[in-house]
Symmetry: C2
Subunit: 623 residues, 2 copies
């Protein structure tokens, strides 16, 4: 992986930052966030502006370019990758380390007095604008909206915005019709006394209308906004997608419907002017509900007095709590996914010793096995297929320059998942195809203890995920080890593999209380730079827990693993496990045998079934 | 405990809320916070306005009175106490429960449109003013400062503000002279480019000048403010306390000092006008540093552009990290405190079966034994001496109406501590003087497991306390149990028994990273309303931990118990402990024997020594 040479691009960007043709007045700094106009985590190629200007293409990062400097902030997952992908024009700002300045602190330290800091108002979330604007102002600078995106100006071969066909999801998958979702949303709006709700996140639009798309790789979403009134529904979407008769029927566009369920279809680009019109027509006390993460541009379209901003929208919260149809779908998807992985690991076990399997070949093989499963749509994120030192690059993706051959001498870490029409998967297994060292087993076992501590945790109803994060780290901490990422994220139901509002992290910002029906990942790890990486990840469902007592009648919760893929027992130092942990592993493997074994049998995958049986032999702990 | 009858008082308050004599325009609601003008937790009798108007005298609570309603917000520690102390005029708002409205939500729900909500600007912290003001404004109401305190107007027999003599602390106690503290503070000010620092918290004034007082019961502080410039020191303090020659010498008031260490003494009441003068004299870019918890009145004295507000002041952070002299003092104080408690428990063991020991007698006896120890000053908080159902009232204080006799049939919970000139103590032990039931032992053992999980935790440098809170709850959670308070608080060094900025709580607001030298409490509990309470509390010192590995060279921390008082083994169900937990108890008791045993021997307290030896017999776990 050689870095992108950005000298010429930065020169061009610095030129347009001062050009009266593009900016009302020169800006001394320009911020290039990761997101798109919907604050998506995964973005379409046309929105990869930060990657274009810097070369760093990880999923999280913010670039800031001044006349003298270019700096990139990213988190622990990407320190190594960013350092590899960026040239010497860039300074890497390692978020989460003690001495790393914030965006604003850094700007204040490098900018001349009274500077203008520009940003595209469609790309920056309103809450972030507010914080940055306030901090910069208090230091004598100004955050200013730059209407035309300055990267787009210098990006001469920028790809077109995708506009792919839509997928309709029947009631058997979603459990609730879009009409009923609108009814529920309107009842939440009535509770809060708001007249309008603006849907800005792509997965929220998709969920609300029981539609899926493929405009963004890995995330089955499509570019659209929606504005829901108490009696109107406006869907902002481009292309001829609304000409598809199946879509028209799904949305009942040609039916004689009650007016409040009649969907008005409008061009994607007209959202700002339509929203400004809504804003201009409001009477006192009439409120418009937006996420505080909606773009600054859309938020500003509604006069301040009429805005009702919340960190989580009612759609975000409803979407996180999966109903019975969604949960059943997720279970089916995870069974199919496990079948594919049993096939893969069985295949790897035979092929790796031959020295012919590279990280890319292994990733492709994983996709091949997954694609054989019913209702497979696409992968849910870029497969992290990494061996040896590449395993320590937390969100590594193999490319020809880094592609390493799997061997019997190195740990192999595979973090992968898929979108099936009935659910989304995300699973990490760490394997050794030879004989792991005592130290590798030790580290693996600490990670496993953390994984089990979360998975088996019992906690009161209403507990926030951040209160569980330390359970995942305790065994590592005892030996002075740790990992620099959160322990888990929400997972969508045939939707984004990362979704809010819940998660398990030492960070406390995206953290609504856990509820039965929510689905999160449990993925502690340990990474030794230049050497190896270990991660064990299951997707788990929040379920009610039976407890001996029931304090204040609050009820308790725990997790049920949806992922049912063997955890390599060869990597476990059994003597570091407690009897309880040992039982957990054996019970888990027993369930893998039963559930996945039956499916392998049904699919006549006899060799993979034999592999599964072998890999799920009970552990025996010597007291 | 019969409730205070508040009908007449509320009538009077509602009258002055509308009287042009006291308010510029009528206020439809009046907020009575707990604190004083220094946002102290423990307050002088003249500042107990919330207790005066409502009858509820717990340490935390906010009263709001409207024309129609009177409501009191308090947390889980005080639900029972508040319910007992308040009459039917009051509605109890149980903070921390799901459906309890916030102050603002409640105000919005009960107030007529366009209401004024009044509050004393000296009593409300600036950060809270800001949040409330914003929320009320967005709902069409106004938060307004009412200069004259409306409670003081109707409180005809309000006691005088105390003004007691000062105590000077020599270098052997403080480790650092007040001059060196000023130098260190000015260097922090220079780092942040501020010219002035306003000291508003009473314990910060006391710590900075190495002085102590007794204006507030239990907290060795005195009413004062200080304003530190780069070349000036102003101390705002009343009374003839500055006439004491010893104080004059300590502060070098009559010496020929470099001008920047010359202390100007000014009247306590002149702080506002002096600060307004400072504010008026500022040039652009000159900043004044205040805590964001300073009163709204003082914060407003500095024009907004010149304010530099932080949640924690540099004094608060410096004060939290104890130096070697302070740590040694805390150790000495805890040894003396343990001697007193060994005497007490030995005495209780003999006396309780006679049926003559009440909660008050036990509390008095504890104070008597403590007062026999060297450098004893006073108690560090009101002793919680509670037996049976009273133990479930988390911050119970025995009064004649509730005073219960200790017996061999009930659990006894004693949470108590003292101020010694060399340190502050705070310890809780839960004992049974007969035969505890299996259920009582079970609950006690879960609490003990939680206590050990925190005390023995190893965690990376820079970890915030909230990440340790769940360790204390895990054993309780497993059985569906929990407790409705945080796990630990910072402890001052011959200062407030509760101090910031660190703690161990599921709440994340007062939570700077833990550092070696910080001192916190570790006090999980379990409470069964109407039945019993269990709490096990040690004060622990944050120390570096030795670990097998050292990830990213961050280093690790753990805790060392400063409290060395036996934990009643009779209450422990040994079979619920792991071998590791059992070893922890035995090691802890071994240390109690050695350290406290030697001191009991030295003080010729032979009977208490025999009790200690008996109570520290090793536990034996049957596998």
């Amino acid at each position: 992986m050689s870095p992108k040479i950005t000298t010429e691009l930065l020169k061009q960007l610095r030129h347009v930052m001062k050009s009266p043709k593009y900016v009302q007045e020169p800006v001394q700094a320009y911020i290039v966030p990761s997101g798109d106009a919907h604050q998506s985590e995964y973005i379409a190629p046309c929105d990869c502006r930060r990657a274009f200007i810097s070369g760093f293409d990880g999923s999280a990062g913010t670039a800031i370019v001044t006349e003298q400097h270019a700096a990139m902030w990213t988190d622990g997952r990407y320190f190594l990758q960013a350092a590899h992908q960026m040239d010497n024009n860039w300074t890497l700002m390692k978020m989460g380390l003690k001495d790393t300045p914030t965006h604003c602190d850094w700007l204040v330290s490098v900018l001349p007095e009274g500077s203008k800091v520009g940003v595209d108002p469609f790309i920056i979330p309103a809450d972030q604008w507010k914080r940055m604007s306030r901090t910069l102002r208090s230091a004598g600078h100004d955050l200013v909206p730059v209407k035309e995106n300055l990267i787009d100006i210098i990006w001469t071969d920028c790809p077109q915005r995708p506009c792919k066909p839509l997928i309709m999801l029947e009631l058997s998958y979603t459990g609730v019709s879009w009409r009923d979702k609108i009814v529920a949303l309107r009842s939440k709006m009535a509770e809060r006394k708001v007249l309008w709700f603006v849907v800005t996140a792509l997965d929220e639009v998709a969920w609300l209308f029981n539609l899926r798309g493929s405009d963004v790789e890995y995330n089955p979403v499509f570019f659209a906004y929606a504005v829901i009134g108490m009696n109107t529904i406006r869907l902002f979407i481009d292309g001829d997608r609304m000409m598809d008769p199946a879509v028209r029927e799904h949305l009942q566009l040609d039916s004689t419907l009650e007016p409040e369920f009649k969907i008005q279809v409008m061009p994607y680009g007209s959202i700002l002017s339509e929203l400004q019109a809504v804003g201009a027509g409001l009477s006192p006390k009439e409120k418009v509900w937006l996420s505080d993460k909606a773009s600054y541009a859309l938020t500003e379209a509604i006069p301040k007095a009429y805005r009702y901003l919340t960190p989580y929208t009612p759609i975000c919260i409803a979407k996180a709590v999966k109903n019975a149809s969604e949960t059943e779908g997720m279970r089916r998807a995870h069974i199919k996914d496990a079948v594919a992985l049993c096939e893969l690991f069985n295949w790897l076990e035979k092929e790796v010793p031959k020295g012919t399997v590279t990280e890319i070949i292994a990733a492709d093989k994983a996709e091949e096995f997954r694609s054989q499963q019913k209702d497979f749509v696409e992968l849910s994120f870029a497969t992290i297929s990494s061996t040896g030192p590449n395993g320590a690059i937390i969100h590594y993706k193999p490319v020809p320059e880094t592609n390493r051959t799997l061997s019997v001498n190195e740990i192999y870490l595979l973090d992968s998942g898929a979108q099936y029409k009935d659910g989304t998967t995300d699973v990490t297994r760490t394997m050794h195809f030879g004989t792991p060292s005592a130290y590798e087993k030790e580290c693996f076992t600490y990670v496993l203890k953390g994984h089990i501590a979360v998975s088996a945790a019992i906690f009161p109803n209403g507990t926030k995920g951040h209160l569980l994060d330390s359970f995942a780290r305790s065994a590592l901490w005892d030996c002075g080890l740790d990992y620099l990422h959160g322990t888990g994220h929400g997972v969508g139901s045939f939707l984004n593999v990362h979704e809010g509002p819940c998660g398990i992290s030492y960070k406390t910002f995206a953290d609504e209380p856990l509820e039965a029906g929510m689905i999160v990942s449990d993925e502690p790890g340990y990474y030794e730079d230049g050497s190896f990486g270990v991660r064990i990840e299951n997707v788990v469902l929040v379920i009610p827990a039976e407890t001996k007592y029931n304090f204040k009648n609050r009820g308790s919760l725990t997790f049920e693993p949806l992922t049912l893929v063997p955890i390599q027992t060869k990597m476990i130092d059994v003597n570091l496990l407690t009897q309880k942990e040992c039982n957990w592993v054996n019970d888990y493997h027993q369930k893998c045998r039963e559930v996945i074994g039956a499916e392998l049998e049904r699919q006549s995958r006899h060799e993979a079934l034999r592999w599964l049986i072998r890999e799920t032999e009970p552990l025996i702990r010597v007291q």
